[in-house]
């Protein structure tokens, strides 16, 4: 499964994309797994209220299951237009 980061999430973690070989059960499990890794992940995921998540390129929720998902993306609220 690919995990993608955009905007300041990408800058804080220091990379745009990485591969996770064994996907956790839910988005929240993935977040917790990443946070436990290193300080830069902890910094990026410190305030989940400031983050949005997309599963397979559709906006989703932190409690969404990841079974069968190919791509998860984390980013701040969008500022288009």
């Amino acid at each position: 499964m690919d995990v993608l980061y955009f905007a300041w999430v990408r800058e804080r973690i220091g990379l745009p994309k990485e591969r996770i070989d064994t996907p956790p059960a839910t988005v929240m499990d993935l977040v917790n797994e990443l946070r436990a890794r290193e300080e830069r992940y902890e910094a990026a995921f410190a305030d989940l209220g400031a983050l949005r998540v997309a599963v397979d390129q559709e906006l989703s929720d932190f409690d969404a299951p990841l079974a069968g998902a190919r791509e998860v993306a984390f980013f701040p609220p969008m500022t288009g237009g």
């Binding site: 955009f6 997309a54 390129q57 906006l59 993306a73 609220p77 969008m78 500022t79």
Partner: protein
């Protein structure tokens, strides 16, 4: 329906004229254009627009289809740029064509409200003082609830 995500600049006049020219039986066309504006106090040198390539086109198509299902429209055009922009550059435009103006105006507003907070773009402002990601505003999220 025409939805384009592009780095290149676009010409508002040509796009608006071409959009009008391909309609028939439409009594109203509304266009909206978003422009990079300078900041109060700090001179903006660049606005960098990042997007999520795999998702952007799909998200914009979904928003356009939703507008087409809610209002009686003849056509929709969305152009949204990404990359390095400067003050006074055009960021994006929407155009809606309808038989009557109320549909065209309302659909254009709906498209803009959803483009603001549901299309995966992020703006970063570069000034002499440094760089800042533009924060989403609560009003933009609240604007969705009226639809």
């Amino acid at each position: 329906m025409d939805v384009r995500v592009q780095e290149a600049a676009f010409d508002l006049g040509s796009e608006a004229n071409a959009f009008v020219a391909k309609q028939s039986g439409m009594g109203a066309v509304v266009t909206f254009t978003g422009i990079v504006r300078d900041l109060d106090g700090a001179r903006l040198s660049t606005m960098e627009i990042e997007h999520y390539p795999g998702m952007t086109q799909k998200a914009l198509d979904t928003i356009a289809n939703e507008a087409a299902s809610r209002w009686n429209l003849g056509d929709i055009l969305i152009i949204h740029r990404y990359g390095m922009l400067h003050p006074d550059d055009l960021i994006m435009m929407v155009a809606t064509a309808a038989r009557h103006r109320a549909d065209a105006f309302q659909a254009a507003e709906f498209l803009m409200d959803f483009l603001k907070s549901r299309a995966p773009f992020w703006k970063k402002e570069v000034t002499e003082a440094g760089t800042d990601w533009v924060a989403a505003r609560d009003e933009d999220e609240d604007a969705l609830s009226r639809w």
